[in-house]
């Protein structure tokens, strides 16, 4: 996805009225499963929001509600102040879905030209193709594309209508390093043009790099909603582990800023934001340790520290 081409700036045609997305106490149940348990969220024009959370947290359900692909069991969902399935609202939204497919026998160019007709003021076809980095595949049939190229095609389909808001469900899934880098560049260009972007990811790195706001979803609830830097300071970012000759007495770890402690055997593991401070204290307390490791926590672990906050108070 080349960063050379910028989309035309968003909006003036539409008055910069209210919020793009509104969820008010939105909940969703699939039979006995509570996918969302009352989420309230407002997204303003021009925001770049990452919905971050582990698999099954409710990210895709949130996006599906915003798009009107699913109906909330409770609460209210609006897109541009309208019910999301309203054609006027949909005409301003571009979508990239995680699990959708498309016909294989049309060419990239043909498919994009088809999708362009759905929107009132679409981008020129070659511009959409260039922004998605598919210029050399424009005349290839969709069935011949690789997984990564197919992701680019879906991105092209999402942006070809020149929408005011983009919904991207797990856009980087299946992208290689190069594709991902290009995707980040294209998304930034869209953001600079004033587009609103809402995407889901379970990679902390995606969210940090692209979003100006991160909404952390877990078990159907929003558990954090903040700017990336602010959020990172709340999240325990390092995982510390070391071996001990004897089981540690409980008081050895008392009063430390740690979370998700596991000291059940001869190995001690925990999460912390201040590994230096914690380790210094442990040395002071005369804790003998070997095989020490300090590594960046992955998302799953970072979430543990968010969801189980009381532990390190």
């Amino acid at each position: 996805m080349g960063d050379a081409v910028s989309p035309p700036p968003s909006v003036p045609a539409h008055p910069p009225a209210g919020p793009v997305v509104e969820l008010i106490a939105a909940s969703k149940r699939y039979g006995p499963v509570h996918a969302l348990r009352g989420v309230t969220l407002t997204i303003q024009p021009g925001e770049i929001v990452a919905m971050l959370g582990p698999n099954g947290a409710g990210k895709t359900t949130s996006i599906s509600l915003m798009l009107g692909l699913r109906q909330p069991t409770g609460g209210i969902v609006r897109l541009f102040g309208l019910p999301p399935s309203d054609r006027r609202a949909r005409s301003r939204a571009g979508v990239m879905l995680q699990e959708s497919g498309t016909t294989g026998v049309l060419t990239v160019c043909e498919l994009i030209e088809l999708f362009r007709t759905y929107y009132p003021s679409p981008l020129p076809t070659d511009q959409a193709i260039a922004m998605a980095g598919l210029a050399d595949k424009a005349d290839a049939r969709v069935a011949t594309l690789s997984g990564g190229q197919r992701q680019r095609l879906y991105f092209a389909l999402a942006i070809c209508g020149n929408p005011d808001v983009l919904f991207l469900d797990e856009p980087t899934a299946g992208m290689d390093v190069e594709a991902r880098r290009a995707f980040v560049a294209s998304t930034r260009a869209l953001a600079d043009a004033g587009k609103t972007i809402v995407f889901t990811t379970h990679y902390l790195k995606d969210a940090e790099e692209l979003a100006r706001r991160i909404v952390v979803v877990d078990q159907g609830l929003v558990i954090a909603d903040a700017a990336p830097r602010e959020l990172m300071s709340q999240v325990a970012a390092k995982r510390v582990s070391f071996a001990v000759p004897r089981r540690l007495p409980a008081e050895a770890l008392a009063g430390l800023a740690i979370a998700a402690l596991d000291a059940s055997d001869h190995r001690v593991r925990f999460l912390t934001n201040e590994p230096e401070m914690v380790l210094r204290t442990l040395f002071h307390r005369g804790v003998e340790m070997h095989d020490l490791e300090v590594v960046g926590a992955d998302l799953e672990e970072a979430f543990l520290s968010l969801t189980r906050r009381p532990e390190h108070a």
Partner: protein, 254 residues
């Protein structure tokens, strides 16, 4: 919002490209009727029915009816099931394209393919089989078969939404082939076993065939009677479609 007519035109054109480039569809619907006519029609093409109607014209009309129903049931029906299997409908559903426009495009495409299929068959019958009729007779057959194809569109739709991509072809064969055979589309009814002759008047394809048979002057039931039966079957199949469509929508989009 984008104009609906422009969407419809683009959508129909895409459907046509997709069908045309899918040999399983284009061959089945353009070549198979010709093959069947070659086996079951050509050997008798020079004979005449007792009332003097050309047997060739009669059988050509039969296979034209078979061909149109086949496009509707196989093309439209299996196509919908396959698209659902690939979750194409999911992405389309999130675009501003109204579902009604998408469906109408499929119907227009099916009609266009039906027309092509009949024309291929008739030209083949004329050139290879030496079947001769006035142009107005052929045009009458085309017009009647296209106009009367509604129950088969509905049947295709019911199969497309009622079964998965793997089951749909089997379903379509299981329903449409016996239906065509028992209605006398493959060979004249009076050559079929007695119990089949007794069942035939209750089948949609039998009354559909009547539309074509009466156009070439073969003995047939009154036009109004055919239309009434076809209308009834359309209502029935649409009801089934509404049922399976609603079930599908509530599973996927509720």
């Amino acid at each position: 919002m984008a104009p609906l007519l422009r969407m419809l035109v683009a959508q129909t054109r895409s459907e046509m490209r997709i069908r045309w480039r899918t040999p399983a569809f284009s061959l089945t619907n353009l070549v198979l009727p010709v093959l069947l006519f070659t086996f079951f029609g050509l050997p008798f093409a020079r004979q005449t029915l007792p009332n003097g109607t050309s047997m060739g014209a009669y059988l050509l009309a039969s296979f034209a009816a078979y061909a149109v129903g086949s496009v509707m049931v196989y093309g439209f029906g299996i196509g919908v099931a396959i698209e659902r299997g690939m979750k194409i409908d999911l992405l389309m559903r999130a675009t501003p394209l109204p579902p009604a426009v998408a469906i109408l495009a499929k119907v227009l495409n099916a009609l266009a393919f039906s027309l092509l299929s009949i024309v291929v068959l008739i030209v083949y019958g004329m050139v290879v089989g030496g079947v001769r009729q006035d142009l107005t007779v052929w045009m009458n057959i085309v017009a009647r078969l296209l106009a009367g194809s509604l129950p088969f569109i509905a049947l295709g739709f019911a199969i497309g939404y009622g079964s998965g991509p793997n089951a749909a072809p089997a379903f379509a064969n299981l329903i449409y082939l016996p239906l065509s055979f028992a209605s006398g589309l493959f060979m004249p009814l009076h050559q079929l076993p007695g119990f089949v002759q007794r069942i035939a008047p209750y089948l949609p394809s039998y009354h559909y065939g009547q539309l074509a048979w009466s156009a070439v002057g073969a003995p047939s039931e009154p036009l109004l009677s055919s239309l009434a039966w076809l209308a009834g079957y359309t209502a029935l199949f649409l009801a089934v479609t509404a049922l399976v469509y609603r079930r599908e929508q509530s599973l996927k989009f509720a």
